[in-house]
């Protein structure tokens, strides 16, 4: 296994934590939406994204 420095390891952990938060908070999903629809970020694009994802999100249960 390749050895990595503490700084690199820490940076990777922080990157991963940030990526996780972006996924949980739908920022990554919005980015994918923009890519797939070839749209720049804007109010209109975000409204379209919300409309597309809302139906799926509404069916997701949240656990106890």
């Amino acid at each position: 296994m390749k050895r990595i420095g503490i700084q690199t390891a820490l940076a990777r952990v922080l990157d991963l934590a940030y990526a996780t938060l972006r996924e949980i908070f739908d920022e990554a999903a919005y980015e994918r939406f923009l890519l797939s629809h070839a749209m720049p970020p804007s109010k209109v694009a975000y409204a379209a994204f919300r409309q597309e994802t809302e139906a799926a999100k509404a069916r997701r249960p949240r656990c106890c």
């Binding site: 920022e27 799926a56 656990c63 106890c64």
Partner: protein, 688 residues
């Protein structure tokens, strides 16, 4: 690392875990440090994850890193997305973690810290984690199919139908139970009520900001929302100290119940994205932050536990809820040990994000370990309190008396000294008028958490702020569970009613939305209303009902899992899911039987109904009220019995399938998606 060194490390972890478990199990008559619970839990988690989950992945499920997952094969950039395993882990954990692992252990602490802690650890390792992991892996192999679809395919049509009914029932009872926790946490608490009320304008502001100012910047918006919520907590203190405003926000249980029912209906029936989505983000933000802070607080403070290992209430006469240690300790703690509801998440969004089959182990088994650790923290928060204080907060007026002096005398008489002055001082310290009879678990947890936080950050001066922070975050994510659950229940009902009359199944047809929302809200609203008016505290009947239904759903999930293992030709390994299944059948069926038929009126629904029926003639003035209580008891008995019968049908149907496969009467054939080789290069794939 050299092999001998790895062996030495694992032997060290095993020895440390065994020592910690022995310490918490064998110490009597002296308080122990909470770190023993933490050590026992984390050493057990490490061992179970390293060895048991690996065994399940390799030998029971035969996970194949070279097999393409639905996220890879069906990648559409929306539902099916190959995602980094740590990201999926975080996503899955955020979906499964809720108020359950906080409330259940707090209530079960009436038996002492030992039974609940052991069940949280052992139940999770051998039951809850196994269920979540196996169902997730099975769903991944079936293009992300839901639990009810898998039940229909692998067990039979009856199994699928019963699983559907079980899911609807548990949603209804779950929503009533968690709503009750909020009502009791906010009852007569202007500070708490104001803070929660303020989350509505805060969420609306977040929604506006997210739409018009910084579209898509959810993390930034949630951080702003969090800062405003913290300000609202301080505003709540001012409200509670200003008599005219305090009067406005001092609400009775009945008023809060009506408000929550209206909220649930509005959240389900109205297009209130502007409120709900930002509130959901805010709730998740606060949840993840608070769980992390609580873990850090416990490790920093390393508090002593004041609750004994075992209390005399293992005999079934506990004031918090009635029932002996077996089976009720195992029913009361569902979410931190085994939760059937998790099977819905494991067969929902998560399987559509898993990049490699082998990662189901870390996500399914690992996230449940994290949830179990939250339950251990809740147990610690309850047990750092003096037992007298714990029972004063958690016991209903119907058991200990409504007058402070009488309640304190009753509790002291049990051997847990507490005084009315001590409780008044504590209530003053947390900014409440009283802490007596605050059943439901949330206030008890909040006082414990505030004590831990106040010991390390700010001292007694900010205890009230920490208490209300805890109440705020519990209420906030319970309300999120409420609105999400009501909507999910509404969709399920619409799907079912659509079979009878097509327009009812159209999720965009407004009359159908209104009707089904009203039906779901009426169902959980009725149970909530009934619990709020219950002289025995409500939680006595509602929480066991919730625990039973949640674990009956786990029974259904484990039936599906065992059936798949048998049909996949690995019957010799079926004990992995069969043992927790047998345990859950024993526990839930015994608990259900006792809740329905036990002769003790505090425990048995029929006995309580009969007791009240005998009082009707002597109390003509209370005749109407007694008749309503009698009806409620009978309804609870019927609901419990119906759930048990339904799940018994699934167990029997599953056993018939196993028998036929094992005796060669039918061919062992599972309904997996066909094998497709993963396009990920071999060097990127991991061994299980």
């Amino acid at each position: 690392m050299a092999k001998w060194m790895r062996i030495a490390i694992w032997l060290g972890i095993a020895a440390l875990g065994a020592f910690a478990l022995a310490t918490i199990a064998l110490r009597r008559g002296e308080s122990i440090n909470a770190m023993w619970l933490v050590l026992a839990a984390f050493c057990s988690y490490a061992l179970a994850y390293r060895f048991y989950s690996r065994f399940i992945a390799l030998k029971v499920l035969g996970l194949d890193p070279g097999r393409a997952t639905p996220a890879e094969r069906l990648d559409n950039g929306r539902d099916f997305i190959p995602t980094n395993k740590w990201v999926v882990f975080g996503h899955h954990f955020a979906a499964i973690a809720g108020p359950g692992p906080l409330v259940g252990p707090v209530l079960a602490a009436q038996f002492g810290y030992l039974p609940g802690t052991l069940w949280i650890i052992v139940g999770a390792l051998l039951g809850g984690c196994v269920q979540d992991f196996v169902i997730l892996a099975c769903s991944v192999r079936r293009d992300g199919k839901s639990l009810t679809e898998m039940a229909r395919q692998e067990i039979g049509k009856t199994g699928g139908f019963v699983a559907y009914l079980a899911v609807i029932s548990i949603i209804v009872i779950l929503l009533a139970a968690v709503a009750f926790v909020v009502v009791n946490a906010l009852r007569s608490s202007p500070w708490g009520t104001f803070t929660i009320a303020m989350t509505i304008p805060i969420a609306l502001l977040m929604g506006w900001y997210l739409r018009h100012v910084r579209p898509g910047k959810v993390l930034e918006t949630s951080a702003i929302g969090f800062a405003l919520t913290m300000l609202a907590i301080f505003g709540g203190q001012w409200v509670s100290q200003t008599p005219s405003w305090a009067a406005v926000f001092t609400l009775s249980g009945a008023t809060l119940t009506v408000i929550i029912i209206v909220y649930g209906f509005a959240a389900s029936a109205l297009p209130v994205w502007l409120l709900l989505a930002p509130r959901d983000y805010l709730s998740t933000f606060v949840k993840l932050g608070t769980i992390g802070t609580l873990a850090a607080g416990i490790i920093a403070v390393r508090p002593q536990l004041h609750m004994p290992a075992l209390t005399q209430f293992v005999d079934g006469n506990g004031p918090v809820f009635a029932g002996k240690i077996f089976p009720f300790a195992f029913i009361t703690i569902a979410c931190g040990a085994v939760s059937g509801f998790h099977a819905l998440i494991s067969s929902g969004t998560t399987p559509k994000m898993i990049q490699r089959e082998t990662e189901a182990r870390m996500v399914g088994y690992g996230a449940m370990l994290a949830e179990s650790s939250v339950a251990v923290m809740a147990m610690i928060a309850a047990c750092v309190l003096d037992p007298g204080v714990y029972f004063a907060i958690s016991s209903p007026a119907g058991i200990v008396g409504a007058a402070p002096a009488a309640a304190a005398a009753t509790i002291s008489g049990w051997g847990y000294p507490v005084t009315a002055d001590q409780m008044a001082a504590l209530a003053h310290a947390v900014g409440e008028t009283t802490l007596f009879n605050r059943t439901g678990g949330a206030p008890t947890f909040a006082v414990g958490m505030a004590q831990i936080f106040a010991s390390s950050l700010g001292g007694q001066a900010v205890m009230a702020v920490w208490y209300h922070f805890a109440i705020m975050f519990e209420a906030l994510f319970i309300l999120t569970v409420l609105d999400a659950g009501t909507r999910v229940g509404r969709f399920m009902l619409q799907d079912a009613l659509g079979h009878f009359w097509k327009p009812l199944g159209r999720t965009s047809w407004y009359p159908s939305i209104l009707l089904t929302s009203a039906m779901v809200v009426s169902m959980w609203g009725y149970f909530l209303w009934e619990a709020v008016g219950d002289p025995l505290g409500g939680i006595n009947s509602l929480w066991p009902l919730f625990g039973i239904s949640n674990q009956l759903l786990a029974t259904v999930a484990l039936c599906v899992a065992t059936t798949i293992i048998v049909k996949s030709g690995r019957a010799r390994k079926m004990w992995v899911t069969l043992l927790p299944l047998l345990w859950l059948v024993t526990v839930t069926f015994t608990a259900a039987f006792q809740k329905v038929f036990d002769a003790n009126p505090r425990l048995g629904f029929w006995a309580h109904a009969n007791l009240l029926a005998g009082q009707v003639a002597a109390n003509p003035v209370r005749g109407k009220e007694l008749s309503k209580l009698i009806f409620n008891d009978r309804l609870d008995a019927i609901v419990t019995s119906a759930l048990v019968v339904l799940v018994a049908v699934v167990v029997i149907e599953s056993a018939v399938v196993w028998f036929r496969v094992l005796t060669g009467q039918v061919e062992a054939r599972v309904h997996e998606a066909p094998f497709v080789e993963s396009r990920y290069p071999p060097e990127q794939t991991e061994a299980a």
